[in-house]
């Protein structure tokens, strides 16, 4: 399946911004087995005085730009063409190992992949597993249970026990608060799942990207109705990383496009920066379109 993704972010300021420094994680990953990057460009208005691209510590591409002329509006539009080459999720193999075996093997995996995976076992800025979350996860990890079965059930329970609510949390709501209120958005559910898994000794990373949404039958798809999305991936030695989407309780496949991988949201927020000036107010809006090509 080929997609064209248009991700447009706009900031409007109450006064002139004299200087702006920004970094964007907007380039879909081109180095994953299930996904190919066909083309990508970012347009910034007003024209930046300085731009650069680089790979961050986790291999994601960062687009860096600075604005040096006074402006009251900033728009960043990323247009990417991606091919998603997916196996049928139904065909994903069950783990051969129990979850305890995965925990032990992850800790001991001598390969580079194993060393890489262990970076995602540790606490990160937004994910310090609270004991109650680990206890909640433990219910799915009964002794001797097959690894993938336990993970699937854990993800399903999050989907069942938590309510999607865009008003309940902010980007910095800690996992413990999400857990206590049983509410949040995709970011929160991904963080929650990661916290529980890391608490069990399982390497888990945060995945940001896009999800193609289909209109209700008989209706036309609305422009800008798609959204950036977040889910997670877990590591199984020998097999590698497998993705899970707790918000929708599905195994990401053809409709999920990966932009960036990190320990949590703070590593890979789509656009962040510092501005000088801007008056009292800042407003922003985001529109995402995921079209089939």
């Amino acid at each position: 399946m080929k997609y064209r993704i248009t991700h447009r972010t706009e900031y409007r300021y109450g006064g002139d911004v004299s200087l702006g420094y920004n970094e964007a994680h907007l380039t879909p990953r081109g180095d994953m087995p299930q996904q190919r990057l066909l083309s990508h460009r970012v347009e910034v208005e007003p024209t930046p005085a300085y731009t650069s691209r680089r790979q961050d510590y986790f291999g994601n591409e960062i687009f860096y730009f600075t604005l040096q002329r006074p402006h009251r509006r900033l728009t960043v539009t990323a247009v990417s063409e991606v091919e998603r080459l997916d196996e049928e999720p139904e065909l994903r193999l069950e783990s051969a190992m129990t979850w305890e075996q995965v925990v032990a093997a992850t800790a001991a995996d001598p390969s580079d992949a194993g060393m890489e995976a262990r970076k995602f076992l540790l606490d990160s800025p937004l994910v310090e597993p609270p004991p109650e979350v680990v206890a909640y996860a433990t219910e799915s990890f009964s002794p001797g249970r097959r690894f993938s079965e336990a993970v699937v059930e854990f993800i399903r329970r999050i989907h069942r026990d938590f309510t999607f609510d865009t008003a309940a949390t902010s980007v910095s709501t800690p996992v413990a608060a999400v857990f206590a209120n049983r509410r949040g958005v995709c970011q929160d559910f991904a963080h929650l799942a990661i916290a529980g898994l890391r608490g069990m000794g399982i390497a888990a990373r945060y995945v940001s990207g896009y999800l193609e949404t289909l209109p209700p039958p008989g209706q036309e798809k609305l422009v800008g109705s798609d959204a950036s999305h977040a889910w997670l991936a877990v590591y199984e030695p020998g097999t590698g990383w497998a993705e899970y989407d707790p918000t929708n309780d599905i195994i990401p496949s053809r409709q999920h496009i990966v932009t960036a991988l990190g320990r949590d949201y703070t590593d890979i927020s789509p656009l962040r920066g510092v501005v000088f000036g801007g008056g009292g107010s800042q407003e922003s809006s985001v529109a995402v379109d995921v079209e089939r090509m």
Binding site: Y11, S18, L19, G20, Y21, N22, E23, A49, Y50, S52, R54, D56, Y57, F58, Y64, T66, Q68, M115, R118, K119, L122, D123, P131, T166, S170, V171, S172, V185, C186, Q187, L211, A227, S228, H229, A230, T247, D267, S269, P270, L271, R272, G273, V274, V275, F276, G277, G278, S281, Q282, E283, S284, S285, V286
Partner: protein, 882 residues
């Protein structure tokens, strides 16, 4: 948040050091005088001066003999002299979180810590290896991370350490010595061996204090110092300068621009930042003085941007860039990381070096040393256990009482815990915390410190000491400062030392085996700096501090003069019951309240009468009340701290006197009528001295010009406000002369008036003298004329014919004044009670002067709107989420 993090023990004794000196009785009578004879030899510890047999060590013999001959009284005198020198030179450090003003005088003990060349050689070679090793570890962490792959370094210590800054990975691998500066805290155990109790790799502090200690020691014990063949410190600073110059990315530019980046005045070691900047000839800057544009770092100075090549930072690395590092940092330079990454500016120490400030690393150093260097470290660390290792964790938990427990991250705000001082509940809670997150903790043995003779109320007493040694890496490797900073515990009994106040410092004397070549002995900072280039640059923060320093000085002086006048009138009214004076006093009191904005004031409302005497005292001494003399002086002193590298040593001495005067006010048997006038007189005199030095000893360049402009603007404003508050509504004709006389006194123009007019003061004549005159340095006309001249000297944007906005404002005020007719100004129009023309003129002047100050601030000072995160303050509008 914009607060700089608390760093326990940055210059204090390294935390984790516990000193329990048990003191034995009188020692063997080898020594003659009381000073040495009464020095008790400590039990179970090594003493730096005395051998285990109680004999004086060879390296100490000359010093001990000389001090002995001097005797305790003379030594106390030298100590007093040292304190006076330090105070005059303004040597201070700041204590965080102290509501009583954070500044503390630096304490120096007059007895040096003496080490022989042989002893020092051991330290030097040990630290060389250790610094080389840390450098290699740093390169590996911000490079291939082989140490983790090989199992020599547990992953948690890097990847779960907040000091590991992912945006800074990887370093430029071509650089041999990314770890430019390194400092170690050393303690000598009972076996006579030195051990490292702490490593500093972020932005080690203390080298400047060591320098200052040396300057003072060489003054209070000049002949002893000269004869002791002590290794000089100057060479280290030459090495430092060379090392920093070598880091400059553009090698073809012959003189790279180096700046010293400070978190600002509130930082614990701000004094040192300012001292080092002055000494090394670097411009002292705050984050807001620098700006990133077109992929480079620039220093803002007088509307120009000067390229910056190297930043010597005293700001913790994560605070250096709000874009890529700590997003809440307002102290850094947004965009800096990207410029570093592209190799267009160098930062020392490099961003990310804080990852090495992790006590758990000590556990793994021996194995890493064998891996990298092929042999063991010859300078061991104090024994340390990392709780991330299950066996070590059990050891720590089983031996908690004998250990110090530390977090692996210094910046986390968790102070080290001396477990033996805890209650059993606290101990249980600590054990629980360790079990929950074991990899975040280490247990460390208490340092067993040697003692060193220190002057106390009871003569020389042994005090536990820790040495901080400093290294700098140039192209060819590390070189050490031959000396350093010693810190001694404040008392001999058992205690834990952290960032508490009360410890003293010592100079460290390394005795040379042969005569020392006299490299220029360090002069005081304002005599010969190594480079004078930095003076030509005037960063926004410095310009603002100079401007405000003289505005506050002017406010303080004016308020003090007015208080003197009011006080005199008050006496005359209460003692002689003079009716005229009563009218004048009432008018002046209202004016004083209005001009200083110290509402409600005495004459406000009848229902809440303020005691006039208490009010006068408060207006003089209450430093927490806005508008008082003390408040303005405090603000002036605070602004002056930001520009001390630009002031002469005489000016610094006057500032110190003012600070001391401010400290000792408010009490006495007759506080209002005896102490208050004396205090006000003294303040006025000191402020006059400061002004005189500014005129006579300061280069009349841009820095001076900002002080001048600040003074003229403030004096102009105050003069206008006084005239408005006293003369616009005329008093009865009978009372007016007395009011005019009081006003002339307040405005320091009574003498001039008498010389010129020889009669009872009249309003019209007064206005000629204090409003219109361009020759009376107290007159408004003089201020405006001087301002016009000063503004012409500022760099302009347009052509020479074009006036800047501030020039236009001053010209308007100046012209209005010139066109005024004094007779019309004093005229009270028909049917009105006030002098309308005077009010109009003064209101316009005040408005224009205020606008001029705002214009200068907008053009030359730091951005009024500091940086904030894209999308909010902090995120008011968050990045929209799915």
């Amino acid at each position: 948040m914009s607060w700089y993090p608390l760093h326990p023990g940055t210059v204090g004794l390294p935390v984790g050091v516990m000193c329990e000196l048990q003191v034995a009785g009188a020692m063997a009578a080898i020594l003659e005088s009381l000073l040495m004879r009464d020095y008790p030899r400590p039990h179970g510890r090594m003493d730096e001066m005395l051998s285990d047999e109680g004999a004086i060590r060879d390296s100490w013999r000359d010093v001990a003999t000389a001090l002995d001959e001097l005797g305790v009284d003379a030594l106390r005198q030298r100590h007093q002299q040292a304190r006076r020198l330090l105070r005059e030179r303004g040597v201070t450090y700041n204590v965080y979180g102290d509501p009583q003003g954070s500044e503390r005088p630096w304490e120096l003990d007059p007895v040096p810590l003496v080490l022989s060349s042989d002893e020092w050689a051991e330290v030097e070679s040990g630290l060389h290896r250790r610094a080389e090793l840390f450098n290699l570890i740093l390169k590996d962490i911000y490079g291939p991370q082989d140490l983790i792959r090989r199992g020599l370094l547990p992953q948690e210590l890097i990847h779960a350490h907040p000091g590991f800054l992912r945006p800074c990975h990887p370093y430029d691998q071509r650089l041999d010595y990314p770890l430019c500066l390194y400092a170690a805290d050393l303690a000598r155990g009972p076996d006579g061996r030195f051990r490292v109790v702490g490593d500093r790799t972020q932005s080690p502090s203390g080298a400047g204090y060591a320098l200052e200690n040396r300057v003072v020691m060489s003054r209070i014990l000049p002949s002893l110092f000269r004869e002791s063949r002590v290794h000089r410190l100057a060479l280290f600073f030459h090495h430092l300068r060379r090392a920093l110059a070598e880091l400059a990315p553009n090698r073809d530019e012959d003189e790279p621009r180096v700046v010293l980046l400070t978190p600002g005045l509130m930082n614990e070691t701000y004094f040192e930042h300012s001292l080092l900047a002055g000494y090394l000839g670097y411009t002292l800057v705050e984050g807001s003085d620098l700006t990133v544009r077109d992929g480079r770092v620039w220093l803002r100075s007088m509307r120009r941007l000067e390229p910056v090549d190297v930043i010597l930072r005293r700001l913790d690395d994560d605070y250096c860039d709000g874009v890529e590092l700590r997003r809440d940092s307002m102290l850094g330079v947004p965009g800096l990381t990207e410029v570093v990454r592209r190799g267009r500016v160098a930062v020392a120490n490099p961003l990310g070096a804080g990852v090495l400030e992790n006590p758990a690393l000590k556990v793994f150093l021996p194995a890493i040393a064998r891996h990298f260097l092929g042999h063991d470290l010859d300078l061991p660390s104090v024994p340390t256990w990392w709780c991330g290792d299950p066996e070590s964790r059990e050891h720590v938990l089983a031996n908690l009482d004998t250990l110090v427990v530390k977090s692996i991250y210094r910046g986390g705000g968790q102070a080290p815990v001396f477990v033996s001082a805890l209650t059993s509940d606290q101990r249980t809670a600590l054990a629980r915390r360790i079990r929950a997150r074991p990899h975040l903790y280490v247990g460390q043995e208490h340092g067993r410190l040697s003692s060193v003779p220190t002057l106390t109320d009871a003569g020389l007493q042994p005090r536990a000491a820790v040495i901080r040694a400093f290294m700098v890496a140039g192209k060819g490797g590390y070189s050490i400062m031959p000396g350093g900073l010693a810190r001694v515990a404040p008392a001999s009994d058992s205690l834990s030392v952290s960032n508490q106040v009360g410890g003293q410092s010592k100079d460290i004397w390394i005795r040379a085996t042969e005569p020392v070549r006299t490299v220029s002995l360090l002069p005081s900072t304002d005599e010969v700096a190594m480079g004078a280039e930095s003076r030509a640059i005037l960063p926004p923060a410095a310009a603002a501090n100079l401007f405000w320093m003289s505005r506050y000085a002017e406010r303080a002086e004016q308020a003090a003069r007015a208080l003197r006048t009011v006080l005199r009138l008050y006496r005359s009214v209460t003692e002689f019951g003079d009716g005229i004076d009563q009218q004048v006093l009432a008018r002046l009191q209202v004016a004083l309240t209005r001009v200083t904005a110290t509402y409600p004031g005495v004459a406000s409302r009848a229902d809440s009468p303020v005691d006039p005497l208490q009010e006068l005292q408060s207006l003089a001494f209450d430093s927490r009340r806005t508008g008082t003399v003390a408040f303005n002086l405090t603000a002036m002193l605070s602004a002056s701290n930001g520009v001390r590298d630009r002031l002469t040593s005489d000016a610094l001495r006057v500032l110190t006197s003012l600070r001391l005067r401010l400290g000792g006010t408010g009490a006495g048997d007759d506080p209002v009528f005896r102490e208050l006038p004396a205090a006000l007189d003294e303040m006025v005199t000191l402020l006059a001295a400061l002004r005189g030095l500014e005129q006579d000893s300061m280069m009349h360049g841009q820095a001076w010009r900002f002080m001048e402009m600040g003074r003229h603007i403030e004096r102009g404003l105050l003069t206008a406000e006084w005239l408005r508050a006293t003369l616009v509504t005329p008093l009865a004709a009978r009372d007016e002369p007395a009011l005019l006389e009081a006003l002339l006194t307040t405005l320091e123009s009574l003498g001039a008036y008498r010389r010129r007019y020889h009669d009872t003061p009249r309003a019209e004549a007064l206005l000629r003298l204090v409003l219109l005159s361009e020759n009376n340095p107290r007159a408004l006309g003089y201020q405006l004329g001087s301002l016009r001249e000063a503004l012409q000297e500022l760099p302009s944007e347009g052509g020479p014919e074009e006036l800047s906005r501030e020039q236009r404002l001053v010209l308007e005020a100046y012209t209005s004044l010139r066109l005024s007719d004094p007779a019309e100004l004093v005229h009270v129009p028909e049917g009105r009670a006030d002098r309308a023309a005077l009010e109009r003129l003064l209101a316009l002047t005040v408005r224009d002067l205020r606008a001029t100050a705002d214009c200068l601030a907008a053009t030359y000072f730091s951005d009024q709107q500091g940086p904030r995160p894209l999308g909010g303050v902090p995120p008011a509008v968050e990045y929209p989420r799915s």
